[in-house]
Every structure is written in C-alpha cells, then in structure tokens.
C-alpha cells in the first residue's frame, strides 16, 4: 500500500501573491527515488513551487501532499485546519532544501553548520551529531574544512557544506533551487558531482536548474514551467529533443 504513495503529489495547486497568480493548476507526482528537474524562464514560479512543498509559502488552492500527508494543513471531517507552526516545522525536518545563495550560517564553522539542526531540532547527542557531520562533510569532499567559516570557503565549497547541512537531518526529499547558478563555471562541476552521487544513492530530488547536461544525465523526468503553468513534462531526452510547445522550443533554443 504505502509503496504506491508518491513522495510528492500536487493536485491543481494554486498560489498567488495578492492578486498576482504565480502558480496555477499544478498537478504532478514525484515517485520515491525519482529525480525531477524543473526548468523555465525567470519568474515562471519555479522557486515558489519548491517553497510551497516545504511550506515556506502557503498555498491558496488545490492540494499538496508529501508522502500522503497534507503540507501545512490537517484535514478533519472534510475541513482543512491550519497546522500549528510547531507541526509545520516537524514536517519540514524531513525535507532538505538547498538555496541558490547557499545561506550558510556565517557565524558557525562548517561543522557547526551541519550539527546545528540535528542537535537543536532533533535533539541528537552532540557526539553522535559531530560524528555524522564529519562523515557527511567527508562525503561531499570537505573532510579537511570542518573548522572553516563559510566566509573562508569558495562558493562551490559553501554549497557542498549546505548540501551536507540538509542531509544531516536525514531528509526523505531534497529540494534544490538553482544550486549552481551563483557559482563560477569551474566550480559548478564539484556541486553537480555531489548531487549525482545523491541521486545514485536513491534520494528523491526536485532540482530547479539550468544545467541541461545534468538534467539529461541524472533526471528521471523534466518539467518545463512557464507563467505559473506546467507546460510540459516527460523524460528529459524527449522534452529536450522534441518539445511539444512552441514556448518550450523558444526557451530551449536560448539555453542549450
């Protein structure tokens, strides 16, 4: 039974800021273990969609479920009740997020960045959290940077610490919002390599990216968003090679 529950299920999801509708009629499913890449022009609502999935934004219509559990609401007798912030925080624990601008905590070392949430939120014992953080940082290739502050790390190194920080909460789903867009070209590869490793280990990932090579190689599905709609969804090769919509074609001709 549970095996068939998708990791993420959006059903006619709608989101607006004031009267400005930024997501409309978003319906899709992401299977457990699936890597989904999202592409689309600036302002098409890609970031907003990710932020809805871990309830950094409230949705205004439709349904959004993660592992069959409503995000941000509880359903009782057909009526939706807003979750208490504490319960919303508990839902977010299982969803890792990586930001375009890293957002590492600058007053903490790499190691402290990674141990902070497990110790303070999950109340793991300090020793165990440190041990696990060492392993994670070694896994992203930063075993020798444990005591460095983010300000002393390159962009690529910072983003890898950010990935380790998210992984420390043992998420079942990882959201990446243009993780390589703020990086110098020669640093993009090291971050993508870490992400490829994660995908190979079976992590469910939703990745907003303009790295078409990564999408083609790693993604199981590719979504093209435009003006708050999902215009196209399919296997990356098909979408990239034979897009159905004129707008997709126009967009791809610019980025490829």
């Amino acid at each position: 039974m549970t095996a068939t529950v998708p990791m993420v299920r959006a059903d006619r999801l709608m989101k607006k800021y004031g009267s400005n509708v930024v997501l409309q009629d978003i319906s899709l499913e992401v299977r457990t273990g699936e890597v989904m890449c999202v592409i689309g022009p600036s302002g098409s609502g890609k970031s907003t969609f990710l932020r809805c999935i871990n309830h950094l934004e409230k949705i205004d219509g439709g349904r959004l479920e993660v592992e069959g559990e409503l995000v941000g609401y509880r359903e009782k007798g057909g009526v939706l009740h807003e979750l208490h912030p504490r319960e919303a925080a508990r839902q977010r624990r299982d969803i890792g997020m990586v930001f375009q601008r890293f957002n590492l905590f600058p007053h903490m070392t790499a190691l402290e960045n990674v141990t902070e949430a497990p110790v303070r939120v999950k109340r793991q014992p300090k020793d165990a959290a440190v041990e696990r953080a060492r392993t994670l940082l070694a896994r992203v290739g930063l075993g020798d940077k444990l005591d460095s502050y983010p300000g002393h790390l390159s962009g690529g190194q910072q983003q890898r610490v950010a990935i380790a920080r998210a992984l420390a909460m043992e998420p079942k789903l990882m959201l990446f919002d243009e993780p390589t867009s703020a990086l110098d070209p020669e640093l993009v590869g090291e971050v993508l390599d870490v992400m490829k490793g994660l995908a190979a280990d079976g992590m469910t990932m939703i990745v907003v990216t303009h790295e078409m090579g990564f999408a083609r190689e790693v993604a199981d599905s590719l979504v093209f968003m435009d003006q708050g709609h999902i215009l196209e969804r399919g296997a990356p090769r098909d979408v990239l090679a034979t897009p159905e919509h004129e707008r997709t074609r126009a967009f791809l001709s610019k980025v490829l």
Binding site: N54, L56, P85, R86, A89, R90, R92, R93, I95, G96, M97, F99, R101, N103, L104, F105, P106, H107, M108, T109, E116, A117, R120, V121, D147, S148, Y149, P150, G151, H152, S154, A162, R165, A166, M169
Partner: protein, 323 residues
C-alpha cells in the same frame, strides 16, 4: 585559490629588488602640529600656574578620597546593572515588535512610545514617588487577599529604584538598536533555519541574534557610556551616592566646587576607558566568522571595519535629546 590564511609572505623572486623610494613629505602637517602643540602647552601651563580656581592641590587631595572612589564604584554598578536590565528587556521588546503576534507587537510599540517620549529625569522622579502611589507591593491574584504584602520602600531601596528607572528608560532605546540589528541580518538566514525545521524562537536565538550582535554592539557601547553619564541624574529619585551627586555634596561643604568637578570628570573618564576595553573584546567575540580575518588564529581585528554606527544612531536620535 589559496585557502590558508596568514602564511609566510612570498619571498621576492631573485632579481626583484624591494622598492626604495623617498617617502612623500607633509610639510604643512608638521607646521600645524607644531602650532597646536605650542597652543596646548600654553593653555596647560596657564592652567597649572596662573589659575588659582582650579586648585590643583585640592584635586590631588580628593582624587583618591575614599568617598569619591566609592561613589565611582556605585556609579559603575548603577551603569552595569541598569544596562544589563535594559539589554535583556530591549531584546525582548525588539523580538516582540518583530514577532508575528499583533498583541505582542502593539505592547512593545506602546512601551517604546511612552518610555522614549518622556524625559528620563521625569521618569526617575516618578519611580521615586512609587511608594507614595503604591504604599505596599502585593503578591497574589487580583480581587483576592494578597498572599504576601511588602511595604514598597522596604522592598526597593533608592539604589534599586534608580537601577529600575534607568533600565526601563534605556530598554526603549536598546530595543530599537536590537531591532535594527535583527533587520540587518539577511532574510535567507531565517529561511534556511526554517527549512531545517527550526522554530521561530530557536531561529532568533541561535541564528539571527548572534549575527545581529555585530551590528548591535557598537551603538550599545555608546549607550553604556551614555548611561554612565545619565546616572548623574539619579539624584531625582533621590539617590545620592553616585559619583556626581557625591562630589557635589562634598563641594557644598568645602565651598570649592571646581576641583571636585575635575575629580568627578577624571573618574568618569577612567570608567569610560574601562568600558571601552570591554567593548573591544565583545566586538572581537561576535566578529567570529563574519570578518575576512580569521580571529580563531589570533589575528588582529581589522581597523575601521565596524558597521555603520550612524545609521543606527539615527534610530534613537541624539544621545542628549532625552535629558
């Protein structure tokens, strides 16, 4: 890309001589400096020899008078206790003002409105009259007989009334400084913490406030020094054991006010200097990771790297305004 800091400077490649140039001369600097030194020396000599009213022997006599040094210590205590209270309350008020809860927000707003909008001297007189308005302090539930009852003037002596009065006033200013500091922290920080499942309070305490401290400390240093001098107003309570009031009381007996003013000023300067040293170390502590220089390796704090004090000072206005 180098990752190590503070390594040995690269030795110049052979064949590259270090530059030996004649340094730029500043003749006018020297002239102006000389004129100033002569002028200051003249004033000092005049003050030391010609002006009897300074009464330097009396300055020497009272500088280390027990009553004065004790009063200086009392003033330091007033400053430290009231600032600690003000900082704690100021952080609470700032967090209340930024919280999503409209009730907490309004309470903080009204508090700041009242305590910043009335003179601290008037507030101190008011707290001094507290025992006239409320002769007893009752502990218990409203409309029920009190569990415990204490005469107000026994529960709170004038020292603590002075501390509370100063702290309540200062908290209004501190909360604005703290709020400016919190708002200066990048929004992405709160977002990242929230995405990790941290609640609002934890995010404030562990992520936002430690980063805001860097912006908060320099203007807080101003406030501490300003508070040191504001303690001279506690005579309004009336509390008379602080440095200024004490030295004035002594000079009222000796009919020789000027030397005691000098003595009090020297002590204020001395205490200010101690506080400035404390500020230096606090700034170092909270600059961790936020500076280009690695402090963990014992490097020096870069000069002039402090964030803009002016922008925050604007939030509270001139320090003399509330007198």
């Amino acid at each position: 890309m180098t990752t190590s800091t503070g390594g040995p400077a690269p030795t110049p490649a052979p064949g590259h001589e270090p530059i030996r140039a004649v340094p730029l001369r500043h003749p006018w600097r020297n002239v102006i400096g000389a004129v100033l030194i002569i002028a200051i020396a003249a004033i000092v000599w005049d003050a030391a020899v010609n002006r009897q009213a300074y009464d330097w022997p009396a300055v020497g006599k009272y500088l280390f008078d027990r009553r004065i040094s004790e009063a200086a210590f009392v003033t330091l205590q007033l400053t430290v206790y009231s600032m600690v209270g003000a900082i704690v309350l100021g952080i609470i008020l700032a967090v209340m003002r930024l919280s999503p809860n409209p009730i907490l927000k309004s309470i903080a707003w009204v508090y700041i409105w009242i305590f910043r909008g009335t003179p601290v001297y008037v507030q101190l007189v008011f707290w001094g009259l507290l025992s006239t308005i409320y002769p007893t302090l009752d502990i218990g539930l409203p409309f029920l007989p009190p569990i415990a009852q204490l005469p107000t003037d026994q529960a709170l002596n004038t020292f603590w009334i002075a501390v509370i009065g100063l702290a309540l006033n200062e908290a209004a200013y501190m909360s604005e400084i703290v709020r400016a500091g919190i708002l200066s922290v990048d929004r992405g920080q709160e977002e990242a913490a929230t995405a990790l499942g941290m609640g609002w309070g934890l995010t404030m305490r562990r992520i936002i406030i430690p980063q805001a401290m860097r912006i908060i400390i320099p203007p807080t240093g101003n406030e501490v020094i300003s508070m040191l001098k504001t303690t001279s107003l506690v005579t309004a309570v009336p509390f008379t054991l602080d440095l200024y009031t004490r030295s004035r009381d002594i000079s009222a007996e000796t009919f020789n006010p000027i030397p005691l003013l000098i003595v009090a000023s020297l002590w204020y300067l001395f205490v200010t200097s101690i506080l400035m040293v404390g500020q230096y170390f606090l700034e170092r502590r909270f600059a961790r990771g936020l500076d280009r220089v690695d402090l963990t390796k014992g490097a020096r704090l870069p000069q002039g790297d402090a964030p803009s004090v002016d922008s925050i000072a604007n939030a509270r206005g001139e320090s003399e305004e509330r007198r």
